[in-house]
């Protein structure tokens, strides 16, 4: 019995060793994208991988930033994926502790990748001093997308606004023309995103880091920018339409597309909805940064590699990572996904006006901060979302009360 078993094992070992010559290297890729634009972008990577002799074995499970239970289940189950979509630095720390981390610092340096990435991207993909993730695309968490037809009919030019006050002073005029000035989807995460985009806008990079950095500073909670942020939230809330309560961002975007509202402040993935509705950037809709923004919050879609693999698998993993950040593949990927390429040296003419705007903004390292998800303590982030959303939903709550609550939360969570 045992002998027979041993024979089968050795036979299959020989077989698999033999087939490794003929067949491409399989890599298990664990990711979370299924919507049409995302799949089109994934196929850019898949085609690139096939050219390099890599077979893409897909596991798709929806997961958001935060604790990624399914990934860790696969790891503890002994079937870890070779490549996985994950932004949360804590997961990489866990993997490194298990001996399964795979830093890319050296390979990125040698291939000249690091030098061509905006500084905020490099910070986002770095965990404890090593580059642990490879970046696929950039999104800006707070951009203003407006309907050009509505702007014309209301007689306003969003591109000329240089401050939030400029923007707000035209709200009455827009309302008189019969449009909702600013469409908002009042869900906790959307208000949370709006809040951190506003903190970056009015506070700038240094202040932002004192609230949303790895080590928040309690003194910052008492300073003017945060108060100003809450005051703006209240003004936007007062100006919002009745349908805003718990509206998905997609529906909110469609509210703007169907000419019921002038604009929406949200992540620039809004572009996807405009594109599937058959609209063109620069012609049907305009995209600007939040007027007067001192800094912009940058979301980086990033994936990681599994370490402690046989040399041939490891080589293919690294080849895959380097492929995704090569200028051609990266800009093709971004064009399909609707994001902005991570490389600053891609061909500018291939980009749409929105991505060109983003790339121009990102040339200035002082004006970019990282999405809190990739930097900050998850509990602290959750508590800011909660306070901001309560503040939005309860219009009797004052800015002072909101700040007071944040301070209490700080004491509980971080002190």
């Amino acid at each position: 019995m045992l002998k027979k078993f041993a024979m089968i094992v050795s036979a299959s070992a020989i077989l698999s060793a033999g087939s490794a010559w003929a067949e491409p290297q399989e890599l298990i890729i664990y990711q979370k994208w299924s919507s049409p634009a995302e799949v089109a972008a994934l196929n850019v990577l898949k085609d690139g991988a096939e050219e390099r002799g890599i077979e893409w074995i897909d596991i798709t499970i929806p997961h958001d930033t935060g604790s990624n239970v399914n990934l860790l289940n696969l790891v503890t189950g002994g079937q870890p994926p070779n490549i996985f979509s994950e932004n949360n630095p804590a997961v990489y720390r866990d993997l490194t502790q298990m001996g399964l981390g795979r830093p890319l610092t050296k390979e990125f340096e040698e291939a000249g990748v690091t030098a061509n990435l905006p500084p905020s991207v490099v910070k986002s993909i770095t965990v404890d001093g090593e580059i642990m993730k490879f970046p696929l695309g950039i999104h800006i968490d707070g951009m203003v997308f407006y309907n050009k037809a509505v702007a014309e009919k209301a007689g306003v030019d969003p591109a000329s606004w240089t401050s939030l006050d400029d923007m707000f002073s035209e709200f009455d005029k827009i309302r008189e023309a019969g449009y909702v000035p600013l469409a908002v989807g009042a869900q906790a995460w959307q208000i949370g995103y709006l809040t951190h985009a506003l903190v970056a806008t009015v506070g700038g990079a240094d202040y932002f880091t004192r609230i949303y950095g790895p080590k928040p500073d309690p003194a910052a909670l008492d300073e003017a920018p945060l108060r100003e942020t809450f005051d703006w939230l209240r003004k936007f809330q007062q100006a919002a339409d009745d349908g805003s309560v718990n509206r998905d961002w997609n529906m909110t975007t469609n509210f703007v597309i169907s000419e019921k509202a002038l604009m929406q402040i949200h992540g620039d993935w809004m572009k996807g909805e405009w594109r599937v509705a058959g609209k063109e950037a620069g012609k049907d809709f305009g995209c600007i940064q939040i007027p007067g923004a001192k800094a912009l919050s940058v979301t980086v879609d990033a994936w990681g590699l599994l370490g402690n693999q046989p040399a041939d698998v490891d080589a293919k993993e690294v080849e895959f990572a380097l492929m995704t950040v090569s200028p051609d593949i990266n800009s093709a990927f971004a064009a399909k996904k609707g994001s902005t390429p991570v490389r600053t040296d891609v061909d500018q003419s291939s980009l749409d006006p929105c991505s060109r705007e983003v790339q121009t903004i990102l040339k200035d390292p002082a004006r970019q901060v990282q999405n809190p998800h990739s930097m900050v303590d998850a509990d602290w982030q959750a508590s800011i979302w909660e306070v901001a959303f309560n503040f939005w939903s309860d219009d009797t709550m004052t800015t002072d009360e909101a700040i007071e609550e944040l301070k209490e939360n700080y004491d509980i969570i971080l002190n």
């Binding site: 298990i28 990711q31 979370k32 994208w33 299924s34 919507s35 049409p36 634009a37 995302e38 799949v39 994934l42 196929n43 898949k46 893409w56 074995i57 897909d58 596991i59 798709t60 499970i61 929806p62 958001d64 399914n70 289940n73 696969l74 503890t76 189950g77 002994g78 079937q79 999104h139 349908g243 998905d248 997609n250 529906m251 469609n254 509210f255 597309i257 169907s258 019921k260 992540g267 993935w269 996807g272 909805e273 594109r275 599937v276 509705a277």
Partner: protein, 311 residues
């Protein structure tokens, strides 16, 4: 019995016999405060389920252009099967764009072994516990009872290790195995309570005739179990079909049930949403348990209300 019109014949006890039908009085239906209250309550309860269902159904037949206009209660201006076709044949779950049908067949492949294993094991265990003298039966029942209350989530990691050691982690078999194990306590208790009501004399007579554990089970107990089997069948089909967590945890690549496909389709963070295809996909996923319920629903009610000897 004052009003002869207010009576109705009851069910004939035995067909063909010339017995007089048994009759009993029935109160005249009257509209009063109580019946109005009940009607209002029932109408509200029905609306609570029907209005979302209505939105689900009409949205699945709309074009995306119409959905963008808002007005979720409006009927489709142009009825289209396209979202249904898309959801079944073309929707992407990650990089494979072959629709929900892949997950559907995975779900079927999970469902059948899970059903066979959990019901047969539980029926035999319930039968042994109810009708045979088993040592430690009381303790065993108590443990089963407690196990029925252990949430899956807290033993998930140990179970992953267990399936890894069994060599089935990441396959349909692991999913079926876990379903069987997790539902066994409650299903065994159901069978045991059902068999407990079988009269002692019947079993004693059977013991004298054959005395074989399996023969008594196969020739006497099983034929009497139709009702309870249907109850358990409906319960298990609904439970296993609708499960997400076990499927997603133990399925691994290629072993993911339809619910995981559905979640991939519907859960979108920064991508675009096709509400019509999502609604169609949700309905497609919900159809199999619904069909089972409509087909077997009559037996279900009978099964719950009937005792063993009435079956």
């Amino acid at each position: 019995m004052t009003d002869p019109l207010a009576v109705r014949p009851a069910i004939r006890v035995s067909a063909g016999a010339q017995e007089k039908p048994v009759i009993f009085p029935r109160r005249k239906p009257r509209i009063n405060g109580r019946s109005i209250a009940i009607l209002v309550f029932l109408a509200m309860a029905a609306a609570f389920y029907c209005i979302p269902l209505y939105v689900l159904v009409v949205t699945s037949f709309k074009t995306m252009e119409q959905i963008r206009q808002g007005a979720i209660f409006a009927l489709p201006t142009e009825w289209t099967w396209e979202p249904w076709n898309f959801a079944w044949n073309e929707a992407c779950s990650g990089i494979t764009c072959e629709g929900l049908k892949i997950g559907f067949w995975n779900s079927v492949k999970i469902l059948i072994p899970s059903l066979v294993a959990s019901i047969s094991l539980s029926a035999v265990t319930g039968y042994a516990l109810a009708l045979w003298n088993v040592k430690w039966a009381g303790t065993f029942l108590f443990v089963l009872f407690m196990a029925a209350f252990v949430p899956f989530q807290i033993i998930m990691f140990p179970l992953i290790q267990l399936t890894v050691h069994l060599g089935i982690y990441g396959s349909l078999w692991a999913v079926a195995f876990i379903h069987t194990v997790m539902t066994m306590p409650i299903v065994t208790l159901i069978f045991r309570n059902y068999y407990k009501d079988i009269p002692d004399e019947l079993i004693k007579a059977a013991m004298i005739d054959s005395g074989s554990f399996w023969r008594i089970f196969g020739e006497i107990i099983l034929p009497m179990s139709a009702n309870i089997l249907i109850v358990v069948l409906i319960m298990q089909i609904t439970h296993i079909w609708n499960d997400y967590l076990i499927g997603v945890t133990f399925g691994g690549p290629g072993g993911q049930p339809m619910t995981v496909n559905l979640a991939n389709l519907v859960t979108v963070s920064t991508g675009t949403v096709s509400y019509n295809a999502n609604m169609a996909a949700a309905l497609l996923t919900a159809i199999p348990p619904l069909v089972i319920y409509f087909v077997l629903g009559k037996f279900f009610v009978q099964g719950i209300s009937a005792g063993a000897i009435k079956g």
